[in-house]
Subunit: 140 residues, 4 copies
């Protein structure tokens, strides 16, 4: 498996009144991780906009399953892999762990998007971007 | 179908640099809506803690599918229904609309949880809470 | 005093592990309120960008004093007034109350900003926008 | 000057539709930094609660001045110092920099708080905590 890893320290403010992570933050961390991943490949949102005229990679679908609670002060490891590359879509899987404990698993499908006169529409993934992603493809 | 509705005005700060909602906010809005729903039934987190010794209703699993972009100034209607009530779990479905436009659909499963000496464990839904929820059950 | 008011229901997820509002949310609510205010005057960020070529109204300085804790389920009233209008800056004061209880007071100074080739620079407030704001000026 | 430093990578989701940091996030980062600081001294919220029966360190007053915009992908250095220690209050100053560029400066006053039967009240800073903080005192 080809995996990209990052770390996330859970802040006091990431937790709710039950003392555990307010779950939408896991999706924010997935998103932050995704941007660190594309950045590591050599492209980010600025590249997509400036070099390819694209708007970005909005979500089409995302899911998260929670296995164990996490709280402030925990340092999570996020490991992701690219599971599928379509014409204009990109699917990834994520695992959050704290040491040996599995905290959460997420999956998502994003689409390459462009701004059109009438709104936001999907766009074909540019060949150069596709090549960078295919080098990291690691399906189930 | 038995539906509970709330409204959400999208703030400038809810949007990302592409000018559309940063998607984790949809999950925050699902959660806010869920609490408005249980509040409307007559119980909230304080009730769960004080009257039943419970910790709350952490997420087991959640998913969101995004159909159309939304942006600041949009006023979304959130409509939810309870789709399943288990021994200690509760599943709900959510629809976000802006006028006639479907923006996003979400589903979630929560578990009734209690604090134990060794951590957080699932708890049986109290009979009185179960009765309130069953009155609103609206399966697929 | 000329005051603009809005309401904000505090969500479960707005609170921290001590069970009270995680304080940065007060600033998010100030910002949401500010946009509701300019919207009520007839201009929003889209107007500023499209009609005036401006980037928006980033913050120069902001402060908040906290008087009493607030928690989920509380419904806060936010009352603001414009305290000063400069060449390119705009100062406002905010009061958060829950019924008769003063929860927090905030002040802020924003600047009208434009995108230039070298970055973001301050811009003169357009006459039409200035006139709308001066109608609501309510200094200390 | 006795300074505590941390780093923060700005996420895509931390920025608003103008492409710069949504300013309330600076306060969230101040708070995250504060907790890393007290953690480095040997106490965190769990210690305060368990060993001293305290609720935490809610804010009394905070202010931020913004000097230059920052955006996603920027890596900020946060440097803080303790500027004043009162009977139950603690004041700190923060500087956010990106390389040599000053991005923002913040100050805050927190109070040591305890839960009482009638609500939240300020508490005297415990001697052991005070000693740890005084070792790091670095007034203007």
């Amino acid at each position: 498996m080809i995996v990209f890893e990052s770390e996330r320290l859970i802040d006091w403010g990431d937790c709710d009144a039950a003392g555990i992570v307010f779950f939408p933050n896991f999706f924010a961390w997935v998103d932050g991780h995704f941007h660190q991943f594309t950045d590591s490949l050599g492209f980010d949102h600025r590249t997509l906009m400036r070099d390819y005229g694209l708007l970005g990679t909005p979500l089409k679908d995302t899911r998260c399953t929670f296995h164990a609670p996490a709280s402030y002060g925990d340092r999570l490891t996020i490991a992701s892999r690219v599971t599928k590359i379509g014409q204009s879509s990109l699917s990834s899987a994520y695992r959050f762990t704290r040491g040996d404990t599995l905290i959460a698993e997420a999956m998502e499908t994003r689409v390459m998007a462009q701004q059109t006169e009438t709104g936001i529409a999907k766009a074909t993934i540019p060949d150069k971007i596709r090549a960078l992603l295919e080098d990291r493809l690691s399906p189930d």
